[in-house]
Symmetry: C2
Subunit: 103 residues, 2 copies
């Protein structure tokens, strides 16, 4: 099982519409990726390690798939459409990471 | 519901013992934090957005709690003991973020 994490850096001038991201963007993600997409999760940054510290990321979205191959097959045909929706919710470039789920 | 994410940057000279982290460190975490800890997840970095890119983080550990207050109450008394275990599995300083779980 793999997880694709899309992490939006909390830059000084960042904008992020978390409602659009959860409701509209992830509806599009679910519709385009179909049953290959096994689960989704979204988090909104509150603080860093200490209450007075800024979070490193303003928001993070996570998607799980059975395998790297399943992800590439589902995502590949829809890259352009999914990327075109990004300016509708943020002005920051995401950091994307693919991980193996260990626990 | 909040999520505490502990993210270990994938620096050029990073070392990370994922088996120790999953089995020994998270056993300690679970024992010390008790029932305030609602769930745990661990991921090991594979790639960045493209297959040839390095992941930003070599590993990530995530813990969920009912609230910030529940986390601080459970974690506060055990900070020293938990931090003392870190050199047993990595040589890199983590990025810690606390987030609100939206989905």
């Amino acid at each position: 099982m793999i997880k694709v994490s899309v992490m939006y850096p909390n830059t000084p001038d960042v904008t992020f519409d978390i409602d659009y991201y959860c409701n509209t963007h992830f509806s599009l993600v679910a519709r385009l990726l179909g049953p290959a997409l096994k689960s989704v999760a979204v988090e909104y940054g509150l603080t860093g390690a200490a209450p007075e510290e800024e979070p490193a990321f303003i928001a993070m979205g996570h998607m799980t798939f059975d395998s790297l191959a399943a992800f590439y097959a589902a995502y590949g045909p829809h890259v352009t459409e999914l990327k075109a929706d990004v300016p509708n919710f943020t002005n920051v470039k995401s950091v994307v990471q693919i991980s193996e789920i260990k626990m």
